[in-house]
Protein backbone atom coordinates (compact mmCIF):
# COMPACT_ATOMS: atom_id res chain seq x y z
CA UNK A 1 0.00 0.00 0.00
CA UNK A 2 2.81 2.32 0.98
CA UNK A 3 4.67 1.40 -2.22
CA UNK A 4 1.60 2.29 -4.30
CA UNK A 5 1.28 5.59 -2.47
CA UNK A 6 4.94 6.38 -3.17
CA UNK A 7 4.48 5.43 -6.83
CA UNK A 8 1.43 7.67 -7.08
CA UNK A 9 3.31 10.50 -5.43
CA UNK A 10 6.32 10.07 -7.73
CA UNK A 11 3.99 9.97 -10.72
CA UNK A 12 2.40 13.26 -9.59
CA UNK A 13 5.81 14.86 -9.06
CA UNK A 14 6.91 13.67 -12.50
CA UNK A 15 3.77 15.13 -14.08
CA UNK A 16 4.35 18.46 -12.35
CA UNK A 17 8.03 18.68 -13.16
CA UNK A 18 8.01 17.54 -16.76
CA UNK A 19 4.78 19.08 -17.99
CA UNK A 20 6.42 21.93 -19.90
CA UNK A 21 9.87 22.99 -20.91
CA UNK A 22 10.69 26.66 -20.41
CA UNK A 23 10.71 28.41 -23.75
CA UNK A 24 10.42 31.63 -25.68
CA UNK A 25 8.02 31.66 -28.63
CA UNK A 26 7.64 34.56 -31.04
CA UNK A 27 4.37 35.08 -32.88
CA UNK A 28 3.32 37.38 -35.68
CA UNK A 29 -0.21 38.76 -35.38
CA UNK A 30 -2.03 39.67 -38.57
CA UNK A 31 -5.52 41.10 -38.89
CA UNK A 32 -7.26 40.55 -42.22
CA UNK A 33 -3.89 39.69 -43.72
CA UNK A 34 -2.15 42.83 -42.49
CA UNK A 35 0.80 42.33 -40.13
CA UNK A 36 -0.08 44.26 -37.00
CA UNK A 37 2.07 43.18 -34.09
CA UNK A 38 4.76 40.89 -32.80
CA UNK A 39 4.19 38.94 -29.63
CA UNK A 40 6.70 37.13 -27.44
CA UNK A 41 5.47 34.43 -25.10
CA UNK A 42 7.90 33.25 -22.44
CA UNK A 43 7.42 30.33 -20.10
CA UNK A 44 9.42 30.11 -16.86
CA UNK A 45 9.46 27.20 -14.49
CA UNK A 46 9.00 28.12 -10.83
CA UNK A 47 9.60 25.91 -7.81
CA UNK A 48 5.96 24.99 -7.57
CA UNK A 49 4.53 25.89 -10.95
CA UNK A 50 4.99 28.07 -13.99
CA UNK A 51 5.05 31.72 -14.89
CA UNK A 52 4.01 32.63 -18.43
CA UNK A 53 4.23 36.07 -20.00
CA UNK A 54 3.05 37.55 -23.28
CA UNK A 55 4.22 40.90 -24.59
CA UNK A 56 2.99 42.37 -27.84
CA UNK A 57 3.74 45.63 -29.55
CA UNK A 58 2.45 47.03 -32.78
CA UNK A 59 4.95 46.61 -35.59
CA UNK A 60 5.46 47.68 -39.17
CA UNK A 61 2.91 50.02 -40.69
CA UNK A 62 0.49 49.56 -37.81
CA UNK A 63 3.02 51.04 -35.36
CA UNK A 64 3.09 54.23 -37.40
CA UNK A 65 -0.66 54.59 -37.02
CA UNK A 66 -1.05 53.54 -33.41
CA UNK A 67 1.33 52.78 -30.56
CA UNK A 68 -0.32 49.81 -28.95
CA UNK A 69 1.06 47.27 -26.49
CA UNK A 70 -0.18 44.39 -24.39
CA UNK A 71 1.60 42.85 -21.41
CA UNK A 72 -0.06 39.82 -19.88
CA UNK A 73 1.11 37.22 -17.41
CA UNK A 74 -0.22 34.05 -15.89
CA UNK A 75 0.95 32.04 -12.92
CA UNK A 76 -0.29 28.48 -12.96
CA UNK A 77 0.49 25.04 -11.68
CA UNK A 78 -0.22 21.51 -12.78
CA UNK A 79 -2.41 19.09 -10.90
CA UNK A 80 -3.93 15.76 -11.85
CA UNK A 81 -6.57 17.56 -13.96
CA UNK A 82 -4.07 19.65 -15.90
CA UNK A 83 -3.33 23.36 -15.90
CA UNK A 84 -4.73 25.31 -12.97
CA UNK A 85 -4.28 29.08 -12.97
CA UNK A 86 -3.41 30.99 -9.82
CA UNK A 87 -3.24 34.55 -11.08
CA UNK A 88 -3.64 36.43 -14.32
CA UNK A 89 -3.13 40.04 -15.26
CA UNK A 90 -3.18 42.07 -18.42
CA UNK A 91 -2.42 45.66 -19.26
CA UNK A 92 -3.13 47.23 -22.63
CA UNK A 93 -1.74 50.63 -23.48
CA UNK A 94 -2.62 52.86 -26.41
CA UNK A 95 -0.29 55.74 -27.08
CA UNK A 96 1.28 55.13 -23.63
CA UNK A 97 -2.09 55.44 -21.88
CA UNK A 98 -3.65 52.50 -20.06
CA UNK A 99 -6.73 51.38 -21.95
CA UNK A 100 -7.29 48.13 -20.10
CA UNK A 101 -5.80 46.81 -16.88
CA UNK A 102 -7.05 44.00 -14.78
CA UNK A 103 -5.71 41.54 -12.28
CA UNK A 104 -7.46 38.42 -11.08
CA UNK A 105 -6.69 35.82 -8.43
CA UNK A 106 -7.88 32.34 -9.24
CA UNK A 107 -8.53 29.56 -6.78
CA UNK A 108 -9.71 26.37 -8.45
CA UNK A 109 -9.96 24.55 -5.15
CA UNK A 110 -12.42 26.97 -3.63
CA UNK A 111 -13.98 27.65 -7.07
CA UNK A 112 -13.52 31.41 -6.67
CA UNK A 113 -12.11 34.04 -8.98
CA UNK A 114 -11.68 37.55 -7.62
CA UNK A 115 -10.44 40.78 -9.13
CA UNK A 116 -8.19 43.42 -7.66
CA UNK A 117 -8.71 47.14 -8.05
CA UNK A 118 -6.91 48.69 -11.00
CA UNK A 119 -7.25 51.79 -13.16
CA UNK A 120 -9.87 50.20 -15.39
CA UNK A 121 -11.35 47.82 -12.83
CA UNK A 122 -12.67 50.17 -10.15
CA UNK A 123 -14.70 47.57 -8.31
CA UNK A 124 -13.74 44.28 -6.69
CA UNK A 125 -15.66 41.46 -8.34
CA UNK A 126 -15.91 37.85 -7.33
CA UNK A 127 -17.04 35.06 -9.61
CA UNK A 128 -18.09 31.58 -8.62
CA UNK A 129 -16.77 28.80 -10.83
CA UNK A 130 -17.71 25.18 -11.23
CA UNK A 131 -15.78 22.26 -9.84
CA UNK A 132 -12.51 21.61 -11.64
CA UNK A 133 -9.56 23.60 -12.88
CA UNK A 134 -9.84 27.20 -13.97
CA UNK A 135 -7.54 28.63 -16.62
CA UNK A 136 -7.12 32.11 -18.08
CA UNK A 137 -6.89 33.60 -21.58
CA UNK A 138 -3.11 33.16 -21.65
CA UNK A 139 -2.56 29.75 -20.11
CA UNK A 140 -5.51 28.19 -21.94
CA UNK A 141 -3.33 27.23 -24.90
CA UNK A 142 -0.81 25.54 -22.63
CA UNK A 143 -3.71 23.80 -20.91
CA UNK A 144 -4.74 22.42 -24.30
CA UNK A 145 -1.14 21.47 -25.13
CA UNK A 146 -0.88 19.60 -21.83
CA UNK A 147 -4.12 17.72 -22.44
CA UNK A 148 -3.27 16.82 -26.04
CA UNK A 149 -0.11 15.17 -24.77
CA UNK A 150 -1.66 13.51 -21.74
CA UNK A 151 -4.90 12.30 -23.35
CA UNK A 152 -4.02 11.22 -26.91
CA UNK A 153 -7.36 9.42 -27.37
CA UNK A 154 -9.62 12.16 -26.10
CA UNK A 155 -11.37 14.38 -28.65
CA UNK A 156 -13.48 16.80 -26.60
CA UNK A 157 -11.86 19.01 -23.97
CA UNK A 158 -13.63 21.39 -21.64
CA UNK A 159 -12.12 24.40 -19.87
CA UNK A 160 -13.29 27.06 -17.46
CA UNK A 161 -11.67 30.32 -18.50
CA UNK A 162 -11.56 33.38 -16.25
CA UNK A 163 -10.88 36.58 -18.15
CA UNK A 164 -11.60 39.40 -15.71
CA UNK A 165 -15.19 39.86 -16.77
CA UNK A 166 -16.56 36.35 -16.31
CA UNK A 167 -15.77 32.67 -15.87
CA UNK A 168 -17.03 30.73 -18.86
CA UNK A 169 -16.79 27.11 -19.88
CA UNK A 170 -15.52 26.54 -23.38
CA UNK A 171 -15.24 23.30 -25.29
CA UNK A 172 -12.62 22.38 -27.84
CA UNK A 173 -12.60 19.46 -30.25
CA UNK A 174 -9.55 17.65 -31.60
CA UNK A 175 -9.60 16.97 -35.34
CA UNK A 176 -7.41 14.78 -37.49
CA UNK A 177 -3.91 15.97 -38.20
CA UNK A 178 -3.78 18.67 -40.82
CA UNK A 179 -1.07 20.22 -42.90
CA UNK A 180 -0.58 23.88 -42.16
CA UNK A 181 1.66 26.39 -43.80
CA UNK A 182 3.78 28.41 -41.42
CA UNK A 183 6.21 30.97 -42.76
CA UNK A 184 6.12 29.23 -46.15
CA UNK A 185 6.79 25.70 -44.82
CA UNK A 186 4.31 22.85 -44.45
CA UNK A 187 3.88 21.15 -41.07
CA UNK A 188 1.56 18.39 -39.89
CA UNK A 189 -0.28 19.76 -36.88
CA UNK A 190 -3.06 18.75 -34.51
CA UNK A 191 -6.10 20.94 -35.03
CA UNK A 192 -8.31 22.07 -32.17
CA UNK A 193 -11.43 24.16 -32.67
CA UNK A 194 -13.81 25.73 -30.22
CA UNK A 195 -17.23 24.13 -30.43
CA UNK A 196 -20.72 24.70 -29.02
CA UNK A 197 -20.00 28.38 -28.88
CA UNK A 198 -22.05 31.17 -30.32
CA UNK A 199 -20.06 33.96 -31.86
CA UNK A 200 -16.33 34.12 -32.29
CA UNK A 201 -14.64 31.09 -33.76
CA UNK A 202 -11.18 29.87 -32.71
CA UNK A 203 -9.01 27.27 -34.42
CA UNK A 204 -5.58 26.44 -33.06
CA UNK A 205 -2.88 24.14 -34.43
CA UNK A 206 -0.36 22.36 -32.24
CA UNK A 207 2.90 20.65 -33.21
CA UNK A 208 3.56 17.37 -31.44
CA UNK A 209 7.33 17.58 -31.99
CA UNK A 210 7.40 20.87 -30.07
CA UNK A 211 5.55 19.65 -27.00
CA UNK A 212 2.21 20.51 -28.60
CA UNK A 213 2.84 24.23 -28.42
CA UNK A 214 0.41 26.23 -30.52
CA UNK A 215 1.97 27.27 -33.81
CA UNK A 216 -1.02 28.80 -35.53
CA UNK A 217 -4.14 30.34 -34.05
CA UNK A 218 -6.98 31.57 -36.23
CA UNK A 219 -9.76 33.60 -34.70
CA UNK A 220 -12.73 35.42 -36.16
CA UNK A 221 -13.66 38.27 -33.86
CA UNK A 222 -16.19 40.98 -34.68
CA UNK A 223 -16.01 40.01 -38.35
CA UNK A 224 -12.23 40.33 -38.54
CA UNK A 225 -9.76 37.53 -39.18
CA UNK A 226 -7.02 37.33 -36.57
CA UNK A 227 -4.02 35.11 -37.27
CA UNK A 228 -1.26 34.25 -34.80
CA UNK A 229 1.63 32.56 -36.52
CA UNK A 230 4.73 31.31 -34.73
CA UNK A 231 7.98 32.62 -36.17
CA UNK A 232 10.59 31.44 -33.72
CA UNK A 233 10.88 29.03 -30.82
CA UNK A 234 13.69 28.72 -28.29
CA UNK A 235 13.85 25.92 -25.74
CA UNK A 236 17.19 26.31 -24.01
CA UNK A 237 16.65 23.21 -21.84
CA UNK A 238 16.42 20.94 -24.89
CA UNK A 239 20.02 21.00 -26.10
CA UNK A 240 19.73 24.66 -26.93
CA UNK A 241 16.85 24.09 -29.34
CA UNK A 242 16.14 27.12 -31.46
CA UNK A 243 13.79 26.77 -34.38
CA UNK A 244 12.92 29.48 -36.81
CA UNK A 245 9.69 28.49 -38.47
Amino acid sequence: MRFIAILAFLSFIHTSVSAFTPHVANYQLSINGLKIAEEVRTLHQLEDGYFYTANANTSGLAAMIKDYSIAASSTFNINDQGVSSVAYQIMEQEDKKISKSYVIDINSQSKIVSSQLTKTQPKINTWKANKGNITDPLSIFLAIAFDLKKHPEQTIFSYQIADGSSVKTQEFQRFNNQTVNIQGENYVATKMARINHQGDNIQAYFLKEYQYLPVLIKQIKSGRNYLYEITNLKMPDIKGLQVTL
Partner: protein
Protein backbone atom coordinates in the same frame (compact mmCIF):
# COMPACT_ATOMS: atom_id res chain seq x y z
CA UNK B 1 7.84 62.03 12.61
CA UNK B 2 6.34 58.85 14.05
CA UNK B 3 6.11 55.99 11.56
CA UNK B 4 5.19 52.35 11.31
CA UNK B 5 6.79 50.06 8.74
CA UNK B 6 5.04 47.01 7.27
CA UNK B 7 7.13 44.17 5.83
CA UNK B 8 6.84 40.59 4.62
CA UNK B 9 10.39 39.56 3.86
CA UNK B 10 14.05 40.31 4.29
CA UNK B 11 13.43 43.97 5.01
CA UNK B 12 16.37 45.47 3.15
CA UNK B 13 14.33 48.61 2.51
CA UNK B 14 13.47 48.66 6.20
CA UNK B 15 17.21 48.54 6.92
CA UNK B 16 17.85 51.53 4.69
CA UNK B 17 15.12 53.42 6.56
CA UNK B 18 16.61 52.42 9.93
CA UNK B 19 20.07 53.48 8.77
CA UNK B 20 18.80 56.83 7.53
CA UNK B 21 16.15 57.42 10.20
CA UNK B 22 18.02 60.15 12.10
CA UNK B 23 18.75 62.38 9.19
CA UNK B 24 15.36 61.92 7.49
CA UNK B 25 13.42 62.76 10.63
CA UNK B 26 11.77 59.36 10.98
CA UNK B 27 11.05 57.62 14.26
CA UNK B 28 10.12 54.04 13.52
CA UNK B 29 7.72 53.17 16.31
CA UNK B 30 7.05 49.60 15.20
CA UNK B 31 7.62 47.06 12.46
CA UNK B 32 4.74 44.78 11.56
CA UNK B 33 5.05 41.64 9.46
CA UNK B 34 2.46 39.24 8.13
CA UNK B 35 5.11 36.50 8.22
CA UNK B 36 6.83 35.21 11.34
CA UNK B 37 9.89 34.19 9.37
CA UNK B 38 10.50 37.64 7.88
CA UNK B 39 14.16 38.51 8.43
CA UNK B 40 13.17 42.15 8.64
CA UNK B 41 11.82 41.43 12.13
CA UNK B 42 15.36 40.59 13.25
CA UNK B 43 16.62 43.80 11.72
CA UNK B 44 14.02 45.69 13.73
CA UNK B 45 14.89 43.90 16.96
CA UNK B 46 18.57 44.69 16.45
CA UNK B 47 17.56 48.33 16.20
CA UNK B 48 15.41 48.03 19.36
CA UNK B 49 12.19 48.66 17.45
CA UNK B 50 9.03 46.89 18.71
CA UNK B 51 7.81 44.17 16.36
CA UNK B 52 4.45 42.54 15.68
CA UNK B 53 3.58 39.51 13.61
CA UNK B 54 0.05 39.21 12.29
CA UNK B 55 -0.19 36.00 10.33
CA UNK B 56 -2.67 36.56 7.53
CA UNK B 57 -3.31 32.83 7.26
CA UNK B 58 -5.06 32.90 10.63
CA UNK B 59 -7.83 35.11 9.27
CA UNK B 60 -10.75 33.99 7.19
CA UNK B 61 -11.02 37.23 5.24
CA UNK B 62 -8.95 40.20 4.13
CA UNK B 63 -11.30 42.46 6.08
CA UNK B 64 -10.60 40.67 9.37
CA UNK B 65 -6.86 40.73 8.79
CA UNK B 66 -6.91 44.42 7.88
CA UNK B 67 -8.96 45.25 10.95
CA UNK B 68 -6.40 43.73 13.30
CA UNK B 69 -3.58 45.27 11.29
CA UNK B 70 -5.23 48.65 11.58
CA UNK B 71 -5.70 48.30 15.34
CA UNK B 72 -2.04 47.37 15.73
CA UNK B 73 -0.92 50.35 13.68
CA UNK B 74 -3.22 52.78 15.43
CA UNK B 75 -1.85 52.08 18.89
CA UNK B 76 1.31 53.92 17.77
CA UNK B 77 -0.61 56.85 16.27
CA UNK B 78 1.82 57.11 13.36
CA UNK B 79 1.89 60.04 10.98
CA UNK B 80 3.38 57.92 8.24
CA UNK B 81 2.84 54.27 7.29
CA UNK B 82 5.50 52.73 5.09
CA UNK B 83 5.00 49.56 3.08
CA UNK B 84 8.50 48.21 2.60
CA UNK B 85 7.99 44.94 0.76
CA UNK B 86 4.64 44.19 2.37
CA UNK B 87 3.18 41.48 0.16
CA UNK B 88 -0.49 41.69 0.96
CA UNK B 89 -3.31 43.28 -0.99
CA UNK B 90 -5.06 45.71 1.32
CA UNK B 91 -8.79 46.34 1.36
CA UNK B 92 -10.17 49.69 0.14
CA UNK B 93 -11.43 50.39 3.67
CA UNK B 94 -7.90 50.06 4.99
CA UNK B 95 -6.19 52.13 2.29
CA UNK B 96 -8.81 54.87 2.49
CA UNK B 97 -8.27 55.19 6.23
CA UNK B 98 -4.60 56.05 5.70
CA UNK B 99 -4.87 57.96 2.42
CA UNK B 100 -2.22 60.61 2.09
CA UNK B 101 0.14 59.15 4.67
CA UNK B 102 0.79 55.63 3.41
CA UNK B 103 3.59 54.93 0.96
CA UNK B 104 4.68 51.91 -1.04
CA UNK B 105 7.81 51.07 -2.94
CA UNK B 106 7.36 48.96 -6.05
CA UNK B 107 10.16 47.48 -8.14
CA UNK B 108 9.09 48.69 -11.58
CA UNK B 109 8.61 51.88 -13.51
CA UNK B 110 4.89 52.14 -12.84
CA UNK B 111 2.40 51.92 -14.43
CA UNK B 112 4.37 49.14 -16.08
CA UNK B 113 4.47 45.80 -14.32
CA UNK B 114 2.12 46.18 -11.40
CA UNK B 115 1.99 43.13 -9.16
CA UNK B 116 4.59 40.38 -8.86
CA UNK B 117 7.61 39.10 -10.81
CA UNK B 118 8.39 42.56 -12.10
CA UNK B 119 12.02 41.97 -13.04
CA UNK B 120 11.31 38.88 -15.12
CA UNK B 121 8.38 40.61 -16.80
CA UNK B 122 10.56 43.59 -17.70
CA UNK B 123 13.10 41.23 -19.25
CA UNK B 124 10.42 39.26 -21.11
CA UNK B 125 8.99 42.50 -22.47
CA UNK B 126 12.37 43.48 -23.86
CA UNK B 127 12.50 46.71 -21.84
CA UNK B 128 15.66 48.78 -22.20
CA UNK B 129 15.00 50.48 -18.85
CA UNK B 130 13.64 49.22 -15.57
CA UNK B 131 13.54 50.66 -12.09
CA UNK B 132 11.62 51.45 -8.97
CA UNK B 133 8.67 53.66 -8.06
CA UNK B 134 7.51 55.13 -4.77
CA UNK B 135 3.84 56.03 -4.67
CA UNK B 136 1.03 57.00 -2.36
CA UNK B 137 -1.08 53.97 -1.56
CA UNK B 138 -4.66 54.03 -2.78
CA UNK B 139 -7.08 51.16 -3.21
CA UNK B 140 -5.74 50.40 -6.70
CA UNK B 141 -3.08 47.69 -6.92
CA UNK B 142 0.24 49.56 -7.23
CA UNK B 143 -1.81 52.30 -8.80
CA UNK B 144 -1.63 55.28 -6.45
CA UNK B 145 -0.12 58.62 -7.50
CA UNK B 146 3.55 58.19 -8.34
CA UNK B 147 5.93 60.37 -6.33
CA UNK B 148 9.34 59.42 -7.64
CA UNK B 149 11.08 56.87 -9.81
CA UNK B 150 14.64 55.75 -10.26
CA UNK B 151 15.84 54.03 -13.45
CA UNK B 152 18.48 51.49 -14.36
CA UNK B 153 19.48 50.28 -17.79
CA UNK B 154 18.63 46.69 -18.66
CA UNK B 155 21.79 44.91 -19.79
CA UNK B 156 21.94 42.33 -22.56
CA UNK B 157 23.05 39.56 -20.21
CA UNK B 158 20.76 40.48 -17.33
CA UNK B 159 18.88 37.80 -15.43
CA UNK B 160 15.95 38.59 -13.17
CA UNK B 161 18.34 38.32 -10.20
CA UNK B 162 21.04 40.58 -11.58
CA UNK B 163 18.46 43.17 -12.58
CA UNK B 164 16.77 42.94 -9.17
CA UNK B 165 20.10 43.59 -7.44
CA UNK B 166 20.71 46.80 -9.37
CA UNK B 167 17.13 47.98 -8.82
CA UNK B 168 17.46 47.24 -5.10
CA UNK B 169 20.41 49.62 -4.85
CA UNK B 170 18.16 52.34 -6.25
CA UNK B 171 15.34 51.37 -3.89
CA UNK B 172 17.59 51.88 -0.90
CA UNK B 173 18.42 55.40 -2.05
CA UNK B 174 14.98 56.46 -3.27
CA UNK B 175 12.72 55.38 -0.42
CA UNK B 176 14.48 57.32 2.40
CA UNK B 177 14.59 60.39 0.16
CA UNK B 178 10.83 60.31 -0.45
CA UNK B 179 10.12 59.66 3.23
CA UNK B 180 12.30 62.65 4.05
CA UNK B 181 10.23 64.88 1.76
CA UNK B 182 7.15 63.81 3.69
CA UNK B 183 8.65 64.27 7.15
CA UNK B 184 9.70 67.77 6.10
CA UNK B 185 6.11 68.53 5.12
CA UNK B 186 7.08 69.07 1.50
CA UNK B 187 5.09 66.15 0.08
CA UNK B 188 1.28 66.02 0.03
CA UNK B 189 -1.56 64.25 -1.68
CA UNK B 190 -4.43 66.35 -2.97
CA UNK B 191 -7.26 65.30 -5.29
CA UNK B 192 -5.44 62.07 -6.19
CA UNK B 193 -2.33 63.99 -7.20
CA UNK B 194 1.06 64.05 -5.48
CA UNK B 195 2.57 67.48 -4.79
CA UNK B 196 6.14 68.33 -3.82
CA UNK B 197 6.74 71.87 -2.58
CA UNK B 198 3.31 72.75 -3.98
CA UNK B 199 4.20 71.53 -7.47
CA UNK B 200 2.25 68.65 -9.00
CA UNK B 201 4.51 65.66 -9.64
Amino acid sequence: MKGVVLISGSGSNLQSLIDNANHIGLEIEAVISNKESAYGLERAQQANIPIHTINHQQFSSREEFDQILSQTIDQYQPEIIILAGFMRILTPEFTQKYTGKMFNIHPSLLPKFQGLNTHQRALDAGESEHGVSVHFVTDELDGGPIIAQSRVNVLADDSADSLAKRVLVEEHKLFPEVVHWFTQGRLTLKDSQAFLDGQAL
